[in-house]
């Protein structure tokens, strides 16, 4: 299926609805006096768009808009994920005191724009679309990071993010230009044809890939493109940090799989892929994965700021995710998709607790969690313990299953990859320390008399309950999600 502009609109409802919501928010922001309802409108927009996305299941895959974007199960999976992330983050923002001084209309508009950018990241079939969508997400992220007015941390984080992102995406387009030069085309399908058949300079192609990796890598946050994340995560408003850590990460994974798998690798027997000879990116990513998880975990050990600790934990998780990529088969990819979804749920949950605690105490450091369970916040404390244990990968939580899938994929691949599995297991042992430290602080330390009580709003408690139930549920009954992830591996190639 290769559709032109007007025929494509039929398969373009989710994006259209989202764009409509964005424009509506801009207008309403000018008209309405009370900004309270804007958040609910954004949520409704997300929900309708989600519905439209789900409606698209079952349609034939294909190119839309003259081969600009691809419609297939894979892109739908990530569209659903980014919508969910946006939805939950908006929900989380409703009662967040930290962003009280932020102009809500712009805030929600930018959040939705970012989600729209993620739609295109997951479905781009073209170097130009990849760059455009990545920049759309990046730009909105910079703004959202710096959206706290007259706030040192926020502005500084935005500046660092912008500079880092600018250089990384500059390197990326430089690398893309070389791919363009070697193949004479911007279209993934044609690039793949040219690369797999024609004679290429392997060194040049490798360099181009390393450059492109910089652009994708800083979204997924793996070493050595991770340096921005601790500073930015700490400085940004917490709901935005949550959004960046799950949605931005997920769409980075999407764009990377899209480019490295259907575009430039070949699918062989039994779901195994083969890379272009001479460009051994899986070998490199193997080491990158090990270094990433180790570095992330080691740095997280003694963090005093919970957001910063979660940033390093996010780096470590990027390392775990890469495990699914390097084994070059569909099992690995499926495990990756599954883990991305699970990570979204548990990490958003953890950040939600951070928001709740910050609302009550204004603190983000570990000390602020002292005796949380005995300060009227037993439920958030228990939920936090669930999320953290799930992030560690302890049964019976969803994180365990996700990790299990990843490890199983890696071990099944055998050979060198067993070493990777060993490193990953050692790492999950290390990671237990810092997650358990917070749990210990919440339950075993006694609150000081001047520690304020923690209270939750109805919104937050509903969201908290939802996320923690899901974390536990997916740890016990994950069959549907696993098969959903498996089905989402249907790529439209040509």
């Amino acid at each position: 299926m290769d559709l032109g502009n007007f025929e494509s609109l039929r398969f373009f409802y989710p994006e259209t609805i989202l764009t409509g919501t964005i424009l509506l928010l801009v207008v309403l922001d000018l008209v309405l006096r009370s900004k309270k309802s804007l958040g609910y409108i954004a949520i409704v927009g997300c929900l309708i768009s989600l519905w439209a996305t789900l409606e698209l299941y079952g349609t034939l895959g294909g190119w839309l808009f003259h081969r600009m974007v691809i419609l297939d199960n894979f892109s739908l999976f990530f569209k659903v994920l980014s919508l969910l992330a946006a939805l939950l983050v908006i929900w989380m923002s409703l009662d967040c005191l930290e962003i009280q001084g932020v102009h809500k209309g712009e805030y929600y508009t930018l959040l939705l724009t970012s989600a729209l950018g993620m739609f295109f990241m997951a479905s781009s079939s073209n170097l130009l679309m990849a760059y455009l969508s990545l920049e759309l997400v990046s730009l909105t992220s910079y703004i959202l990071t710096g959206s706290l007015p007259h706030n040192r941390r926020s502005s500084e984080a935005a500046l660092k993010y912008l500079i880092y992102g600018g250089v990384a995406s500059g390197a990326m387009i430089y690398g893309m230009s070389w791919v363009f030069g070697m193949t004479g085309s911007l279209d993934y399908a044609r690039i793949s044809e040219a690369l797999l058949q024609g004679e290429v300079n392997r060194l040049g192609l490798f360099m181009a890939f390393v450059f492109i990796l910089a652009g994708f890598g800083y979204k997924i946050v793996f070493v050595p493109f991770h340096m921005w994340s601790p500073d930015v995560y700490q400085g940004a408003p917490t709901p935005i940090t949550a959004f960046l850590s799950v949605a931005s990460n997920a769409s980075g994974v999407a764009i990377m799989i899209r480019f490295f798998f259907p575009a430039i690798s070949r699918l062989g027997e039994g779901g195994n892929w083969s890379y272009i000879p001479g460009v051994e990116w899986p070998h490199f990513l193997l080491f990158v994965s090990m270094v990433t998880m180790t570095l992330g975990n080691l740095c997280a050990l003694n963090q005093q700021n919970v957001k910063r600790m979660l940033a390093y934990s996010g780096i470590a998780h990027a390392g775990y995710l890469l495990m699914g990529l390097v084994v070059l088969n569909n099992d690995g990819l499926r495990a990756m998709l599954f883990y991305v979804a699970v990570y979204l749920i548990m990490n958003l949950g953890a950040f939600l607790v951070v928001v709740i605690v910050a609302n009550a105490t204004g603190r983000e450091d570990v000390e602020g969690y002292r005796g949380l369970a005995w300060r009227g916040a037993a439920i958030p404390a228990v939920c936090m313990a669930i999320f953290l244990f799930s992030l560690t990968g302890l049964p019976p939580f969803a994180g365990f299953v996700g990790k299990f899938f990843l490890f199983a994929a890696v071990i099944e691949a055998g050979g060198m990859f067993v070493l990777l599995a060993v490193v990953a297991i050692l790492n999950s042992v290390i990671s237990l320390y810092y997650y358990a430290r917070i749990v210990k602080t919440m339950f075993l330390d006694f609150p000081q008399p001047d520690d304020p009580k923690v209270e939750m709003t109805v919104n937050s408690s509903a969201l908290l309950g939802f996320l923690s139930c899901l974390t536990v549920l997916l740890g016990i009954y994950w069959g549907p999600l696993a098969s959903y992830a498996g089905q989402s591996l249907r790529f439209f190639v040509r």
């Binding site: 001084g101 300079n201 040049g204």
Partner: protein, 166 residues
């Protein structure tokens, strides 16, 4: 040597020279103004490559827009009077080494790579072709870019606004 070749080297010299000024100058005002030379030089290179539309865009947006913005920002954040350490640079030597290695690697690869060869090289104005493509094959990116600009617009407003008081 052909006349065109001489002109090319001249333009390249201006572009690279002013880019070097941007990178090495100790005064930010000089840096910013040198950027003008670079942008203009790049625009001229586009003309050389038969990309008249891109050259026009380069002049309009880069020279007319971005450069002005940068100059404004420089003026707003510096007192003209203090010209001493307006543009601090650190670790020049290691940076030169890294960048030098990088450049030699890039040039090496550029020379070795068998780039794709076009069937024929045409020198014709491209404006109308690009215009057609924007409304046809590249309609979606075009619309998406407008969304990016909208976001940037809103963003610039968000970032420079005062705190909200309810």
């Amino acid at each position: 040597m052909e006349f065109a070749t001489v002109i090319f080297y001249l333009i390249a010299a201006v572009t690279i020279g002013s880019a070097a000024m941007v990178a090495f100058s100790r005064n930010i005002i000089y840096s910013a103004f040198s950027l003008l030379g670079t942008f203009a030089g790049v625009a001229a290179i586009y003309v050389f490559l038969g990309a008249d539309f891109v050259a026009a865009v380069q002049v309009l947006i880069y020279v007319g827009g971005i450069l002005v913005l940068i100059l404004f920002a420089v003026m707003l954040t510096h007192r003209i009077a203090d010209v001493q350490i307006t543009n601090r640079a650190v670790g020049r030597i290691p940076a030169l080494v890294v960048v030098g290695v990088f450049l030699s690697l890039l040039v090496q690869i550029i020379r070795e790579t068998p780039w794709q060869k076009a069937k024929e090289i045409v020198y014709a104005p491209t404006t109308s072709r690009i215009g057609d493509l924007f409304l046809e094959n590249y309609l979606l990116p075009f619309e998406l870019a407008s969304l990016v600009l909208l976001a940037a617009l809103i963003g610039a407003a968000v970032l420079s606004r005062k705190e909200l008081k309810e």
